[in-house]
Symmetry: C2
Subunit: 395 residues, 2 copies
């Protein structure tokens, strides 16, 4: 059984999260990913917790299935090694701050001249162009400057960060989309190109309804707790033993919900006659629902509501997610053996293909684990050269 | 100049957000997307606000560049039309509840038998398999059951929903990745396949660090306000006129930050000697930083910190995002003329290609705008047949 991206080789010059997640998605799909790390220290996320037998689970969970080659790109001989590897690859992906690749002698123009077919993807905080291009960025900053934080949180309270690094992860996913699309064209035309992915741009792309609302009305969207700005009821409520979620996305579901809750009079109530009115009058509606919902457990309500087809469910913590039967049935937690950390549980790929299912088995690499193998097999370097490069701190 | 996905045709049986966003990403890349809608009412999101001249900006912002064909899939002749269209397409994407496509006579096995090369992508709340497969789902429910809500919000407070529909949007992006990867293999081998995307699976995939932490330690991650679980300081603070974000992701940045804030003694403070210690002792560190940061405006701090290379910036509301100079320089807000709504501003694609830049110009379709054109050109139907189908309510 062949893999989806069989034969695709990626030179991975990424660190921390956005870049590594993008190349992980492609590695999961069967691409060969050669991760270049700084000799000695490597990807700085190797120093981020949590640790398992001293190995960063932050690092291992987003670098599974890759090879690690140590190369100091700041040295001329390191640059030459990277250029040589690029010539054997289909994709180069990097997430240095704009300008760094030029300083290494690995800027797009240089690499493109040598490898015209190569897809060269750059992921950065603010993009390669524009007045903020040179600024350093991390997820929390982009969540804040991209507007997502301003619409996340309780009403009239401080905004909060989304609990996972969604600015990194969305840039990674857009990056993977861009790389695959550009690969398709490169295989058709023989022409590679640069893809310039900005985490901030990706956040704007994901504002969707909030940006549309601002553009149409001029009103600045505010944080709404668990409520949706345009659909009601579509939020969390408190049942007798925890939070329950209701999502009555259309009028049919609204009527089913009222029936199940024994609130038949609400169906005829002119304040709640359609979704727009329910949203407008949400403050009057919520206490009526909350009062009834407080009377049974989450499990009791969910069983009743799911049976009549009203989207509802429990609010899970991460431990409950980890142990849920649907997650188990979907094999969404995968365990991979790591030579130092031991057996590690991590999220599986959510891409479930009928003919070429993804099978994750290879752990994240140790720092420089594949340096000799890659330099020997791909660049035909001899043992003496490798020893000398190592002695000189190039690899 | 060719587009990236020139020649790729997609039969789009999706509604609301996750499916339409996936096909929008592919339409932006140049694929021809034929959206099938129910005669009379169409995609239910045509009824979601905000409205511009009566047209839903929710709908128009995620359906730009597509064609709309009305077909009632519940009727046998409607099913036959859809099957006929599938034979002319490279991809079918749908986000009905599992089982619906089978009831229409358009299940994967049926379609695959007729169109073996077709990539058939199904996006659903819980996936095509597992005990919850048949349950209805919406974004807020998946945010809650996927654990993201449980780590988003203020500490010791109610969890909140991420302000944009991240469960839909991440499934859309994974869907686009899966479709492009499967297309690449289909063009190589001639074999299509089904891709089974579950919104819940995608949320698990995006838990990253939180899931790794739980797996390693057994500790259930909690909401942390704006703070990062493993990096400190990496959060929002209050300056004299609003919120400022600091993201000191490594020890070098930490030292630069202390220097810029005039807190040189903190550099030598053993409680804050490395990132792990700063995270452990964040409650002692935060007031020390907050006190100093309250003394200047956001703009003053940002200018000073950006100059020395410390990632920092303002917390923007959606209006500020809309009007920011970097967003403008990146052309991330695009205006498209719609025949009824008029000129509409919406997020541009964040995929910036050097050789084949994306140019969005075509608005979202009116309901059924392309029915006759598509049935005539792709299925060779005559005017009389089209009139009869319309009279019979099939289209």
């Amino acid at each position: 059984m062949d893999s989806l991206l069989a034969g695709v080789r990626i030179l991975d010059l990424t660190r921390v999260l956005a870049g590594p997640y993008a190349s992980m998605v492609l590695a999961d799909l069967g691409a060969e990913v050669i991760k270049v790390e700084l000799p000695g220290s490597g990807d700085e996320s190797r120093g981020y917790g949590p640790f398992q037998n001293g190995e960063s689970a932050y690092f291992t969970s987003v670098n599974r299935g890759k090879k690690s080659v140590t190369i100091d790109l700041r040295q001329e001989r390191g640059r030459d090694l990277a250029l040589g590897l690029a010539e054997t690859c289909d994709v180069l992906v990097e997430n240095f701050r704009p300008g760094s690749m030029d300083r290494f002698g690995l800027g797009y123009e240089t690499v493109h001249a040598k490898c015209p077919q190569l897809v060269y993807a750059s992921i950065s905080g603010f993009g390669q162009t524009g007045p903020y291009a040179q600024r350093p960025a991390y997820d929390v900053l982009i969540q804040a400057m991209g507007g997502l934080a301003s619409i996340t949180g309780e009403p009239n309270s401080s905004p909060v960060r989304v609990g996972s690094s969604i600015a990194d992860l969305s840039a990674a996913l857009f990056g993977a989309v861009g790389i695959l699309a550009a690969l398709q064209r490169a295989s058709r035309t023989g022409e590679g190109q640069q893809i310039d992915i900005s985490m901030l741009d990706c956040q704007v792309a994901l504002l969707e309804n909030a940006l549309a609302r601002y553009a149409v009305s001029g009103e600045v969207p505010q944080p709404l707790g668990s409520r949706h700005p345009a659909i009601t009821p579509f939020q969390f409520f408190v049942a007798s033993d925890g939070h329950i979620v209701l999502a009555a996305g259309n009028d049919g579901l609204w009527r089913k919900l009222c029936t199940a809750l024994g609130l038949l009079d609400l169906i005829e109530d002119p304040r709640f006659a359609d979704n727009a009115l329910r949203t407008e009058n949400h403050a009057e509606l919520e206490p009526l629902l909350a009062e009834v919902l407080a009377g049974k457990t989450v499990a009791e309500w969910c069983e009743m509501l799911v049976q009549v087809g009203v989207p509802s469910g429990p609010l899970y913590d991460v431990g409950q997610v980890f142990n849920d039967q649907q997650i188990a049935a979907r094999e969404m937690i995968v365990e991979i053996d790591h030579p130092i950390a031991g057996r590690q549980a991590m999220p599986n790929s959510p891409l479930k293909f009928s003919q070429t299912p993804i099978q994750l088995q290879t752990p994240a690499p140790l720092l420089g684990q594949h340096t000799e193998e890659v330099l020997r097999d791909m660049l035909d370097l001899g043992a003496d050269e490798i020893t000398e490069l190592r002695a000189d701190g190039v690899i």
